[in-house]
Symmetry: C2
Subunit: 351 residues, 2 copies
């Protein structure tokens, strides 16, 4: 306990200095701030406040897909192409099985080494201790750090399924969903949900048999979605007023389906071209601003919920909460009535 | 809109009657209450308050695993064995690719039909519209409905990965994680995280080549975890005081690794025996009560956060929130300072 407090002390004192260094692109300062984001707490918030004016510049690209689809290899190849184009790249890996997270085969590690020694590439894998909700927040905050530190492109790798997919779609401007060739039986594994978050679909390991089948299946699913006008972005924009081009036609983005073979570096340049086209589309149509607003709204609400809860907990005794939980377990009180009672007891409503 | 209001009207009026019918096990009433849980809102809360005294009886069993591991088939076979044992079974499918959700191949549908016509089996797949957070809540609430309605066993099928896995581990007393045989390259797909949520590991499709390799890999991972004493349950119990047996030795649960072939119904009875052993273990050691308390605590906090936010939104103008989001996007204000300002403006702290 005291060791932790001692370690935290100096960081608080030099917090502003570390921020200044991170804003100047100093790698050790950036790393320290991301660690701070993983720990969370008041100090992390203070730093985020300071970073905020410097954020909003980066193009954040999410890469998601089931384990085994080759996300890390693709991310590494994408980073290499960006580097050849002279761009610096930030990489945040949220997948605990990612080679970026250290749990890698030798082959993967060798592929990563080239990147790891490039000073214009910042690689960070997020620790998974704590709640997944906490991890999603820490990831978003790590992206803020890299954004403020001047990385024009930030690649975020997440294991694809469930909440994490959706979280990454909220953080990223462009979400790439990876599939890989599969036998007929496994095509059911293409979840309807992925079409809602995918801006680009990439069938990786396209040298394997069955790649074209998956491409065809994905295109068919896209056709179906298109016919029903249920595009995610179309829907989003409808709610706020449809974005139209000059001829009055509704603009929408149909996710392209690309084949890649990341291990051989094939199709990666085409993928980056599609990423760039999607970015341009977002800037041209107002989708970028719309998403920016959505993100800010989500973040504000999350902070409000957290802060309100912290105030409530400050105003009631710890024993109140423990006793209430006991009463709920004993079925003496239901949780909804208990919540009403605790809020009343806190005096938060009295004002 | 008015059609919706009209449909809701009668349900509010007969809400208590519907609850009484559901408590008596009437299927249509149960179905209506679960639909109500999917919609959420004040009426759902009222019903949950009424149901709460009748909950806490069921053994909730979560089944999770990646798409293609055969979750639905296994769930169906488990239900059949429970039926042969004379138990009624509730099934909640959260996986949108689940045959229970309708998106099924003919073969799956035929396997399900036998269950679907059994009056002692209640099958419900949860709609995925809305947020995943909302889905997790609706799923937990649907389980409450089935629990209060007297189903002694409730099987919850979720697609395995990310947040949904963790959510199900929080809802379920016993979590079964499915794996399937894989080639060497794909063994990396065994995520470290699953060991933290698995009470039982089942290698399904065990007739395929490589089943024993996966069993060996899982056992090795368990050995590693055991050596480091990082068992999830052990950890949980340590925080609250270690549960010990009479000899003073620490009790902990090592997840058994079982082979099943759900398509042929093989290994399913052994799996149910392990489920029963795990339940007995939880009852004997106090783990069941501990988890019950954790669940109540989580639920209470979730409700508190929601209710506090609702009160804040009641007290500030809609335009305040919209304007604040604009200021955040324009980098004129950071979200943390904005949250402080809005809470002050709401007067919620004044009391």
């Amino acid at each position: 306990m005291s060791a932790t407090s001692r370690r935290r002390g100096p960081l608080i004192a030099s917090g502003t200095e570390t921020v200044t260094q991170a804003l100047a692109g100093e790698r050790r300062a950036i790393a320290r701030l991301i660690s701070l984001m993983e720990r969370g707490g008041a100090e992390a918030r203070q730093v985020l406040s300071q970073l905020h004016p410097h954020t909003g510049q980066a193009h954040i690209v999410g890469i998601t897909g089931a384990p085994g689809t080759g996300k890390s290899t693709l991310v590494a190849e994408m980073a290499k192409v960006y580097r050849r184009q002279g761009q610096s790249v930030g990489i945040v890996a949220v997948d605990p099985t990612s080679p970026f997270s250290g749990g890698a085969f030798l082959g993967d590690r060798i592929r990563m080494r080239e990147l790891a020694t490039d000073r214009q590439v910042f690689i960070r894998s997020m620790a998974t201790r704590g709640s997944l909700g906490g991890l999603a927040r820490a990831t978003a905050d790590a992206v803020h750090v890299l954004d403020a530190s001047g990385y024009p492109v930030i690649l975020v790798e997440t294991v694809g399924a469930g909440q994490s997919e959706v979280d990454i779609a909220r953080v990223a401007h462009t979400t790439i969903v990876l599939q890989m060739p599969a036998s007929g039986d496994e095509i059911q594994a293409i979840k309807a949900g992925i079409l809602e978050i995918a801006d680009i679909l990439a069938v990786n390991k396209a040298d394997l048999a069955g790649a074209d089948n998956i491409v065809t299946a994905l295109q068919a699913m896209l056709d179906l979605g298109s016919a029903r006008s249920e595009w995610h972005h179309g829907q989003l924009l409808d709610a706020e007023g449809v974005v139209s081009d000059s001829s009055g036609e509704q603009l929408s983005w149909r996710p392209p389906v690309l084949k890649t073979c990341a291990l051989r570096g094939e199709g990666v340049e085409e993928l980056l071209a599609a990423v760039q086209t999607h970015w341009q589309y977002q800037c041209d149509t107002g989708v970028r601003e719309y998403r920016e607003r959505e993100r800010a709204n989500d973040e504000l609400r999350r902070i409000l919920r957290h802060d309100l809860m912290a105030r409530l907990l400050d105003r009631i005794a710890d024993t109140d909460l423990v006793d209430t939980v006991e009463r709920i377990v004993a079925r003496e009180e239901d949780p909804y009535s208990a919540a009403e009672r605790l809020i009343a007891a806190s005096g938060l409503e009295a004002g």
